[in-house]
Symmetry: C2
Subunit: 119 residues, 2 copies
């Protein structure tokens, strides 16, 4: 379930703008803000059933897009590759590199960190 | 124009599966296989005007998806970050690192290369 939430956040982050406004709004409030269906219904002025329909259809649309494009899978593989790069830089950093070498190893770590958060 | 072609190939690579079959087929033959509208018309059995409409609508749909999601822009920034990482590893490789350090620097280069082609 926790993993589902991570995936739903990724789906919204990647493809949320391709949903209808109502679908995106309901999905974001539910998955990112953790509001209940009743709370979203009250806040958005649509019925609880309407909120549920928007979430169900929104998630189905997001999952269909990922199944077709595989871009989140590609992104996840890149993140995994950056983790592996980071491990290698750490191994390198444990060697005696001299001042210049250590500065470059530190620069590598910073560049990898930036790539990771940028995604 | 050459840059347009690169962008159109990226758009197809990322989002091509979200087009209709006809749109994707016409766009791929035109942009990736470099066939003329007349050649595509002959091969696919639709009119030259039909081919053009499929390409025009396909490209508009692909551009709209990128404008909404920005995923190709994100991907391009990652590629640029990997280029910068590669520069740093090259600078490191020019230092005397010893056998173990050189093996790790070589491993970094290989990992960056894999990340680049994987995208």
């Amino acid at each position: 379930m926790a993993e589902d939430r991570v995936m739903q956040s990724l789906l919204l982050d990647f493809y949320g703008e391709l949903l209808t406004d109502k679908q995106r709004e309901c999905c974001e409030l539910h998955f990112n803000e953790d509001l209940s269906l009743a709370e979203i219904a009250e806040q958005s002025g649509i019925s609880r059933q309407g909120v549920w329909d928007n979430i169900r259809r929104g998630v189905a649309a997001l999952e269909a897009i990922e199944e077709k494009t595989g871009l989140i899978r590609r992104f996840s593989e890149t993140q995994k590759g950056l983790d592996e790069l980071d491990d290698t830089v750490r191994a390198l950093g444990s060697l005696p590199l001299g001042a210049e070498g250590e500065a470059l190893a530190e620069k590598l770590r910073r560049q990898i960190r930036e790539l990771r958060t940028r995604g």
